[in-house]
Symmetry: C2
Subunit: 393 residues, 2 copies
């Protein structure tokens, strides 16, 4: 009996074969994982697909798009046969295509769960962009669908495969910064009107789910811990029609077991290059920009006066390449992805808790907001103490 690489992979995935085959990593140099790209937008066409082109573990074998001309152009560029071009009507036919091992879902957030679950039913592994879905319930359904089909589910947290971010994590784990006190992180950009991200049915939320999730996820991989509490405020400053459905700006704090605190801000209202700053008792590491596609920059300063600087590569496409290859490795070696569905679910739960905290106001009594009326502060404070417990942070 000759077992091909693909047969083996399937048998392991189905739970057959794994019992009687030795559990050694199966390093297959003879073939690459075939990705079906679902959604031809900027992140697919400008970042993920060019990175896969550089890979010796992954390749593009199919595309799904509502625009046939764009799909054909991409297919030609990546050597995808015309029979492997799909649209949103015939998407489920990917099940019949043996050249597709995995899908890469780069659609509006509200479509992530449906297209991931259908991919799992088609027995394809799933690499899904973040946020993984628009609700905790959808996220759980995605995890269950992939578990039932014994397919991998990985969330495309590209920064967890990016060298400067990984170096920051390494410095912390090695104790180079001493005890971690705090993290400051922010990410934002001024959004154009009519972006799908402003439609809550498509996005599931505002900047928190889109860019704030980078700060949230960074605080978790930097500390290596899960927040024990979250508190925040959300707001709309610009009453220009863009923010009828989602917040414009959101700031929140988090506490971690052991006492590290995080303070984060995200916005659709102003330019705000993503960054994080980790403060420890014996040093600081600043990655700024931290979440861009390239030209990231790390500066660490230690108590002995030493510094470490990682200057930007220009360009640095390795984060998408490493992400695609990690997924390929997980499929080929039957490993759980580092950024699994569970990892995505944790962020979804925290996002829902941050939003819930924002709904709870912690108001300074109106009398005290005026610059002219602080005469009776003692009375106000006493009143606040009595009445504020249910709605104060």
């Amino acid at each position: 009996m000759k077992i091909t690489r693909r047969d083996f992979s399937r048998m392991v995935g189905l739970g057959t074969g794994a019992q009687w085959l030795p559990r050694i990593p199966f390093v297959a140099q003879d073939r690459r994982i075939g990705y079906c790209i679902v959604g031809l937008g900027r992140i697919s066409m400008q970042h993920f697909m060019p990175a896969v082109k550089m890979s010796n573990k992954s390749r593009i074998t199919a595309v799904v798009s509502g625009h046939r001309d764009k799909a054909e152009r991409m297919a030609a560029e990546y050597g995808v046969p015309s029979g492997s071009i799909y649209n949103y009507e015939n998407y489920d036919e990917i099940a019949k295509n043996p050249d597709i091992d995995a899908v890469y879902i780069a659609l509006p957030n509200s479509m992530h769960a449906d297209y991931s679950i259908r991919a799992a039913k088609a027995r394809k592994h799933v690499l899904c962009e973040k946020p993984m879905a628009t609700s905790v319930e959808q996220s759980r359904a995605m995890i269950q669908a992939c578990e039932s089909a014994r397919r991998k589910l990985m969330i495309a947290y590209r920064c967890q495969y990016e060298p400067a971010n990984l170096r920051a994590v390494q410095l912390i784990r090695e104790g180079k910064l001493g005890s971690i006190q705090s993290i400051e992180s922010a990410f934002g950009f001024p959004i154009a009107p009519n972006e799908w991200r402003l439609d809550k049915k498509l996005s599931g939320g505002g900047p928190l789910v889109d860019v704030g999730i980078y700060c949230l996820n960074a605080c978790r991989y930097l500390t290596g811990a899960e927040p024990s509490g979250v508190k925040g405020f959300s707001s709309v400053v610009d009453q220009d029609g863009r923010f009828a459905q989602v917040e414009e700006t959101l700031s929140w704090t988090m506490e971690f077991p052991g006492g590290a605190l995080a303070s984060c801000t995200c916005t659709y209202g102003s330019p705000m290059p993503g960054y994080f700053r980790v403060r420890g008792s014996r040093g600081t590491v600043i990655v700024e920009p931290a979440f861009n596609y390239d030209k990231l920059h790390l500066l660490a300063q230690f108590e002995d006066g030493q510094t470490l600087e990682l200057a930007p590569d220009d360009p640095d496409p390795t984060q998408f390449l490493r992400e695609a290859d990690h997924m390929a490795d997980c499929i080929l070696q039957n490993k759980e992805p580092k950024t699994s569905g569970q990892e995505g679910l944790r962020d979804m739960v925290l996002i829902s808790q941050i939003y819930r905290s924002c709904e709870r106001t912690s108001r300074v009594p109106a009398r005290m907001q005026s610059r002219d009326n602080l005469d009776n502060v003692r009375g106000v404070v006493v009143a606040n103490r009595v009445h504020s417990a249910p709605d104060s942070g």
Copy 2:
């Protein structure tokens, strides 16, 4: 009848004379305001006193210290007669010294109220370091004592007299940044054991009252508004005995009327040069460092690609000089100080609200803190929704 400058000042202060004298600014080139320095520590000896030496509106005319030798050394340096050297036992005798117009209180926080109120009773104007006191009640008592004595009360918020901070405020007021979305600000340093700041009876609190107050005050002068809500977390990471009485690190968020949000962190556990970053729809202004004694640096970036940079003066002692001279101007011209007792009181009220918010936990259910146990997230979320209202932010 010849009215000397000093007589006039006293008459105005006492409420006599002001009725029948024309209310024109009285610019006295013939004399300088005499300061009695109360507390000879670093900020007095290394910053305030050298700045006053450069002034043509202010001078040092007396000192109060528990260390006679240090007091005599300072007196010699600043031309203070030995009869104008006081200690903490005979402090109230400053009432009899006509060369003292005002006191500069640079004592541990818990002594601010007592020494300010006694100065007012001695009919001296008061310039008091921040935080103005260790409680809202003390702050109100200081304001009332100075009002009753018709003396000025100014809190030494030196950054409100510092050129880079003022330029940031000006850019915002002129609309150069568009609508303000958010402010990030932080300030901290690793504290040595046995500092008086770690004794809550002397300090009234941890880094929030000492360095966090810079961030808090900055958010208020940058927005020109009062926060409508505050939420925060405080913590102790280093269990090394330093933080038995006060927090080590505190992060908090604030919302302002109109929707601007602030996100701040302060710490005694790690180096954290003070800064703020103001994000507007049309530009950003970053002052970093923002709260140091010198070498401040401002960088503004506007949507048209223009930038504005204020490079550091080396050294820049003007913030203390401007602060001392503003107090002198207020005394000479009978004006309310820009950073009055009311300004200090607002911060004290907000500090007490931030501390109160920190006492209210907003916990993620313990089951969800483990990286291994997210199996029943839906159940946890539902439970949290039902039970968390009273203690969630």
